[in-house]
Structure formats: C-alpha cells, structure tokens
Assembly symmetry: C2
Homo-oligomer: 408 residues x 2
C-alpha cells in the first residue's frame, strides 16, 4: 500500500456530489445576474506581482501565493533581496484587484456603465482551519462608471434575487454609509487620523461585544463616558430617525439610504450604523447579507469610488457586491437529481457493443445513464445507486435488452 | 494618461461576448457528459511540486509555473540548490496528473468504474504565440477501472455527441493502437529501444511529410529501402485489411478496433496506422478528432493503463479523451443571444427608483434587462445594442414607464 496521498495543505478535492451542487448553484447565479443585465468576464488567475502588491489588497497581499520567475537558478536566488526579485507573478487573492486591472486594460471596449460578473477561484495562504480553504470560489458583481444610487439598487436587487433563486429566502441586508460612521466618530471626539483604528475596533462588535469595543476605544484615547449607552441607541436605530435626527447622524447619507429602502420593497433592508466592513477602500454605502441559517455574513460590499481607476489613472465610481459562495453552498441542500437517471446493470459477459446499444436506447428516453457491473449483493448496490440519485435500473442481458424498473 | 496596463505576458482577458460563448459551450459539454454517465470532479489548481515533477507530465513538466514557498527569505534562497528548495507547489499543466493524484486520494469514495469529467484552466509557460496562451481551459473525460473496450466506446460516443451538441457535426475520429505501431516498427527492423524516437518522427508526418519522415528514420539507422512506398500503403489502409492482412498489421489489435467501429455506427471512425499521439504513457488505443473546419486536431486521447495508479501504488486501467476546448470555441459562431433582451434607455434626470421599477417590470416579462443612459446619437447607440444581442428597447420617462419597441 502506498503512502497516503493528499491535495496540497489547506486545499481540497471536490467529489461528484459536492461538485454537482456547486455547479448547479453557479448556473443559478449566472442566470440571475445575466437577467439583471450583468455581463460575465474573466481575467487570468495570475496577475503581475507588482499589481497584486500595490496596496489595493489590504491584508490579503500578505497571504498571496507568488510564482517563481522562470529562467532563474541558484546564482540569481543567492543575490535576491526580496520576493519581487525571485517572483514575477502571483495568484489573485480576490477578484477586485484583477477587475481594476481588467478595466484599465479594456475599458474602451466596455459599455460606459459596466455591470460585471466574475466567478472564479482565489488563493490565500491562510492558516488552514475547519471550513476555510486556501483555494476558494468568489462570486462578485460590480457596477463601474455609475455614481448614482441606481448602482446600489441594481446590485442589492440582483443579489436578493440570486439568493431567492437559490432557495435562501429570508435574507436581510444590513446597510450603512461610511459618511455616517465618520460623523459618528467625530461626534465621539475621535480625530480623523485615529478613525481607521476606531473603525477596526467597531468592526469587532459581533465578536467582543459592546464592553470590549468601549474598552478598546478607551485604549485609543476616546472619551468612553456614556459610550456603552450610545451603542445601545445605535442598536435600536431604525428607519424613523429622519424626523428628529440624533446628533450623531449624517442626515444626508441617512436620507440616501432611506431612498434605497423605499425603492427596494422586496428586500429586507436593515439600517445598522455600526456596520463597518473591513476593507479600507470603501467610500460610501456599505452592506452585508444576514441570513437566519448562518451566524456569519453571506456576503457584502459597498461603494469604493477611489479604487477601480487606480491602474487607469482617473477616478471611476464603483460599487460591488461579493456573495460568500462557499458559505452559501454549505447552506444548500444536497442536489436533488430531479430528472430521470438510469443505471444499466450487467454481468461481465455482456458484449461491449450490446451495452453501448442499451445505453444509447436509454439515453434517447432522456436523463443520464450509467453502465455498472452487477455486484453479488444486489440490494446494497441498488440502495447505493438510489442514494446517488438514480431513479431507475435494468439488468441488461447479452442481447442488450432489459426491462427498466423504478429505483427508490 | 497612465501607462498601458496588460494582463500577464501570454495570458488574456475574456470580454463579455467571448466569455458568454465559452460558458455556453461549457454548459453544453457538461450536460452531454452528464447524460452519458460521467461525473464532474474538481481538484485544486495547485499540486505539490514533487507530484507535478514525478515524470508523468512529459515535456510539460518543464513548462510548469512553480509557487514560492511561504516564509522563506534571502537567507534561505542564498543556499537553495534547486527549484524544489524555493518552491513547494506548482500550477497544474494538465488535468491528468491531478486526476491520478485525486484518484489515489479518493478512490474509496468513488464507483468501481469511475467516469470523470474535469473542466478547468491549466498553465504552461510556453513562448507566447498567436492563438496559444499560458492559461487555457482543458476539458477531459476519463474512465478509470475498466479494462474492456466498453470504456473506449463510451468515451468516443460521448465525445461525438458533445461535438454534435455544439453544432460541430462532420467530425471524424482517427484511431490507432500502440500495439499496431509497435508491430509496424518491428517489421521495419526498428529495435525496441529505438521505438520511442521513431514514433516521435512518425508523429511529425503532418508537418514534414513522408520524405521528411523517411529521411529522419534513416538518420536513426532504419533501413529506408521501400519505406516511402510503405507509407503510401499505410495512408490507404482502411477497414478491409482483416481478410488478407498485410505483414505489418497486428491483427488482434486491428480486430479490436474493427469491433469499436461496428459498435459506433454514428461516429465516423477512420483507421490511421500512422497516428502516434505524443504522450509516452499510452498503452493501447489512441484517437484524435479531425474536423473539416480545422487543420489541427480538435482533441484526442487513448488508453494509458500504467499511469493513473502511480500514486495509488497499483495499476488501474484507464482511457481518456481530452477535447481541445480553445480550438473548439474558436470554431463556434458568436453566441446568438436567442431569447429576449431588453435595454431601457433613460435620461440622467429619471429617478433611480423609477428606473429600478421599470427594470423589474421588464424582467417579469423574461429575458435580460439592461439600463443605459440615452446618448445623443440614438441611432448609433441602438445599432450597437442590437449588435450586442439586445432585441427590444424602451425610452423610460420620469414616471418609470416607456413603450417597448423591437430592436433589429
């Protein structure tokens, strides 16, 4: 017996049942996004090392897999001072940096307002842990070139429709605006240059609770008197603040969010003034999907007007929504095979030509058809086939015939 | 204006029209293979460096992209003697080596006869040239665990059905058997140890012609007397050699091929005793797709009984068929969008909520819907939209209404 053989550390194989479920989910997502006017594009999985390390990837830049320059050897490695000297490419760690590069390359061939769908694997060298992999699929939609709120409306609307189509009804979308967070912080006396650290702390609210957040803010020099109570007020903030707005509220931004809510009656939009979203590049609205069946978010996004144009050299307004494909797949039921699936059992002595003819006849009736050698324990074999989703079977005889019977 | 921005050397971006065409082709292929009883699986894009360089990849091993070990720096690079010291992973250069690794890892969870589909990108650091890319998609079907001819029949039958479903009728499949080549060489007096070089030469027949092949064989020490005429005889070899077989023919192998042909009346199977297929790992039947619209092959495969079991430690019979996805996509017509696609033109002053409501109503009638700012040159705008596949349009007014008109 050979030594155990495994995929690379932190990566996984997808067996038929899991792969079928994922491909089904992707087909549903593609169809919904397409019907909503989004166009799928694809950039290479590799990008130039320098682009992946231009500061647009946040902490993910550190987790990036780098690809060795071809044609170098010990002599060149010996004098290499940094990774850029030994590596010229890297595997993408998200789909947003490649989108910025793609847009800079191809914008002349794209519509003035470009609605993009990207689906594909990304790679991050994270410490392997349960449910987190070093290769995983991201599924992003972005609207580039539209500064108005219709972009947010189309994105959130399409995402809601996608979740519904997958059977994940009951999702809600928490929404906030970076302008609201900024005003909140200034009300609390946080200096502009300390804002980033304060946001990182507030972003931990789910994990460390109000007391933890207040304590950390205090360590950052924020006056914490009354802060715990203030958080209580934020938690109950809703859509009724416009008439008598509290002092911490950026009313203009709040009014914009209210307009989004009114235009999206089919989506459960929840105002959450403590929603931060990690990435530093967000400039306006930010949103995150919550679902009763999952404690963690099923995706999120926001407006990031400064970033897409970075490689192009001019600013391009942009909003994006990335659903958490891996988490969503875990919530979906195993794929009901639905349609007819036939297995043709046969003994070893049935001629190949007869088997193929039997298969062809069964296929003409529709559905999928598998040939399988009959095993001695027929009952166990049929049960396993039924569990795999096969709906009928026949025992094929030497002349290529056999009666089809239901398999349940 | 910023400097030009491009994808990495030898790689390409896929714009919406091209991407739609490719995804459509993949959906067709997946549906056909599934109906033929094949199960899709997925292995990571990365494999351990050692597995990618275990001798199973032929010349492709040299073209492999290697991934830098994490956590090393100048100090470790300075003493690195070979690539394996600085790289621990690599990007797959084909789908066959990962399949061998996948099967070794997961065979206990797979059916005794496993029919696999794999679709995905592979990477090779080839010199960039027109129509050849460093990242490209492969689409392989393989049957593992079946030594009998039913495996060849199912593979060739499924591949023929896939091409038909893509609209590429008229393909033929050239077929041969390594046993026939071996006997041919021994008839010509080629020693067993010189067989590999002779096969590489015969494989060039398409490129250098009979005279070139005979001359190269002569350089290898083969007696070339009568060899040019012999090639003439091979070119006209057909399915009528069984009654009075020529001396060079391995009759047992030929009879097996004849049986495949008889069982596959729907496929144009052409016997070609000069067909070699490059890879050294083939052990039996080999085949290649020819199509009138392409001078190069649209795919090929064969039996390679020695390879899949390499990482498992025991022999597993295997046959595979890899279609040339990139070439096939190039032959397909641009995607006829087919169904309804609506564009809603609007001026800048139409409120976002009204636009979204108009979009929702149009979607309820089916098809895809895109919002687009009306441009001054309406005629040019509508013509461009029609070329993109949109079938109808409306001018949305401030109240969110507008009459739909056909777009042709």
């Amino acid at each position: 017996m050979a030594a155990p053989v495994n995929p690379p550390r932190g990566m996984r194989d997808l067996l038929p049942a899991e792969k079928a479920k994922r491909e089904h989910a992707l087909a549903v997502l593609r169809a919904v996004y397409r019907s909503h006017g989004f166009d799928e594009i694809e950039a290479p999985a590799l990008e130039d090392y320098d682009r992946l390390h231009a500061g647009l990837g946040g902490d993910n830049e550190k987790l990036s897999f780098s690809v060795l320059r071809r044609g170098l050897g010990p002599e060149q490695w010996a004098t290499a001072g940094d990774v850029a000297a030994v590596a010229d490419l890297g595997l993408r760690y998200d789909l947003t940096v490649p989108l910025a590069r793609f847009y800079a390359t191809n914008q002349a061939a794209l519509p003035a307002v470009f609605r993009s769908v990207q689906v594909g694997p990304v790679w991050r060298a994270e410490r392997p842990q349960k449910g987190r992999y070093r290769q995983f699929v991201q599924c992003d939609i972005d609207i580039l070139g539209e500064a108005g709120p219709i972009a947010e409306l189309e994105l959130i609307g399409a995402t809601g429709a996608a979740l519904d189509a997958l059977g994940l009804e009951g999702a809600s979308v928490r929404i906030n605006d970076r302008r609201i967070l900024n005003r909140l912080l200034s009300t609390w006396g946080v200096a502009a240059e300390a804002g980033g650290a304060a946001l990182i702390t507030i972003d931990k609210l789910d994990k460390i609770g109000v007391a933890g957040v207040v304590s950390e803010l205090g360590e950052q020099g924020v006056d914490t008197a009354g802060l715990a109570e203030a958080f209580g007020g934020l938690a109950t903030a809703g859509w009724d603040l416009a008439v008598d707005p509290p002092a911490w509220l950026d009313v203009a931004a709040y009014t914009d969010l209210l307009a989004l809510k009114d235009a999206l009656p089919q989506v459960d939009l929840v105002f959450d003034p403590t929603l931060v979203r990690g990435m530093g590049y967000y400039t306006g609205t930010i949103f995150e999907i919550a679902h009763p069946s999952s404690t963690s978010s099923l995706g999120g996004g926001g407006r990031y007007d400064g970033m897409i144009g970075r490689f192009l050299g001019r600013e391009v307004p942009a909003v994006g929504f990335s659903i958490g494909f891996e988490r969503i797949v875990d919530l979906l039921p195993d794929r009901a095979h639905g349609t007819v699936a036939t297995v043709l059992l046969h003994d070893a002595d049935v001629p190949a030509a007869a088997l193929l003819a039997a298969k062809r006849r069964a296929q003409e009736e529709g559905g999928r058809v598998r040939l399988e050698r009959a095993r001695r324990n027929r009952k166990a074999q049929l049960a396993a086939l039924a569990a795999e989703g096969f709906t009928r079977f026949a025992q094929v005889t030497a002349d290529g015939t056999g009666d089809l019977r239901p398999l349940t």
